[in-house]
């Protein structure tokens, strides 16, 4: 690389790279509930609800929402209407 190229194509400082990596790794580290636990929770919850209500398990979604004051577990699960038999 020529001198001018070097001057213009300034590489990011290593500390900026470090900071970015740190912030990213902490997003994952700070997750309150691991992906594995989310899967288990979802299965267990669907099972429990299915005892009382007909649900569309395949369309069910369990998600984690993080607001300023707390984390919320949010379940979105469609209920299936029983077909009327005539």
């Amino acid at each position: 690389m020529g001198l001018v190229d070097k001057f213009l194509a300034r590489e990011p400082r290593s500390k900026d790279i470090a900071k970015q990596r740190l912030q990213l790794v902490l997003v994952y580290d700070r997750q309150v509930i691991s992906p594995g636990l989310m899967r288990t929770l979802k299965e267990d919850i669907i099972l429990a609800i299915s005892k009382h209500l007909d649900v569309d398990a395949s369309s069910a979604e369990l998600s984690l929402s993080r607001s300023a004051d707390c984390h919320r577990l949010i379940l979105d699960i469609p209920l299936v209407r029983r077909e009327r038999r005539v």
């Binding site: 400082r13 290593s14 500390k15 900026d16 470090a18 740190l22 580290d29 700070r30």
Partner: protein, 265 residues
């Protein structure tokens, strides 16, 4: 009045907890307080060596808890200061030799005899850490300005809050101002942005620490070097004094950031 029990912890190993405990113990004692420093790193004791008291160990923390020895038999008085004592760890046992509950009981006993109990926590998040924090009123986290250490410190912040120990304060250790200026090292403000806890102090990298540790003399005892001054300042801040941060190259921005963070408190 009962003592304040402070655990110095980090998560990551090798960031300067033991050196910190030794020097903060000295600093607090220099300010006229009665201090007991406790090495909670059972099996890998080092506080004795850093303080240069390794030849005087007869009984240790585990002996006291198991009833083999009385507390007064195990405490080693540091003759360089009027009121600084060390309770060493056991070397031939491991972290499972005592329970968090037993440590908490011991802390209650220590509380009656001094103004400050400083507990040198082992690295990690397992029983050694649990032992070290159970009896504590407050915690100080030590980190170095690098990704791995800060990441581990973040985990510890969460664990301390989950253990009902409140929000810890931070010491950023081994800062090299020239590297920070060049952009080759995380600045204290970068660390604070990520951890979002109150800054207690910054300790610069200082070769004198190695020299003093070789000799078994905590640097805060007689050193005039930057690290010695930093430790003494942190000791004063623990006492509630408002000591401005030392002149390192990143100083004024840090000051502003620290004031803003504390103000948000």
């Amino acid at each position: 009045m009962a003592a304040r029990v402070i655990t110095i912890t980090s998560g990551k190993g090798g960031v300067g907890k033991t050196t910190g405990v030794a020097n903060l113990g000295v600093s607090l004692a220099q300010e006229g307080n009665r201090v007991i420093v406790v090495d909670a790193d059972i099996g890998l004791r080092n506080l004795d060596v850093v303080m240069g008291l390794e030849n005087r160990i007869v009984y240790d923390l585990v002996d006291v808890i198991e009833g083999t020895a009385r507390l007064q038999q195990a405490l080693i008085r540091d003759k360089r200061l009027p009121e600084l004592h060390l309770l060493p760890a056991a070397q031939t046992r491991d972290k499972t030799a005592i329970s968090p509950h037993q440590m908490a009981t011991l802390c209650d006993e220590l509380r009656q005899q001094c103004d400050f109990v400083l507990i040198d926590s082992p690295a990690g998040i397992e029983q050694g850490f649990q032992n070290a924090v159970e009896g504590a009123d407050e915690a100080i986290i030590v980190t170095t300005p690098d990704v791995a250490a800060v990441r581990d410190a973040d985990r510890i912040v969460g664990l301390l809050e989950a253990n009902g120990k409140g929000t810890p304060r931070l010491i950023v250790n081994r800062i090299k101002p020239d590297m920070v200026r060049r952009g080759d090292m995380l600045a204290t403000e970068d660390v604070l942005e990520v951890l979002v806890i109150e800054l207690l102090g910054i300790v610069p990298e200082d070769e004198n620490i190695i020299v003093h540790t070789n000799k078994g003399i905590p640097i805060a005892l007689d050193g005039q070097s930057p690290a010695a001054q930093a430790f003494r300042n942190i000791g004063k801040r623990i006492l509630g004094q408002d000591v401005p941060l030392m002149t390192l190259s990143e100083e004024s921005r840090i000051l502003d950031r620290m004031r803003r963070l504390v103000g948000r408190g």
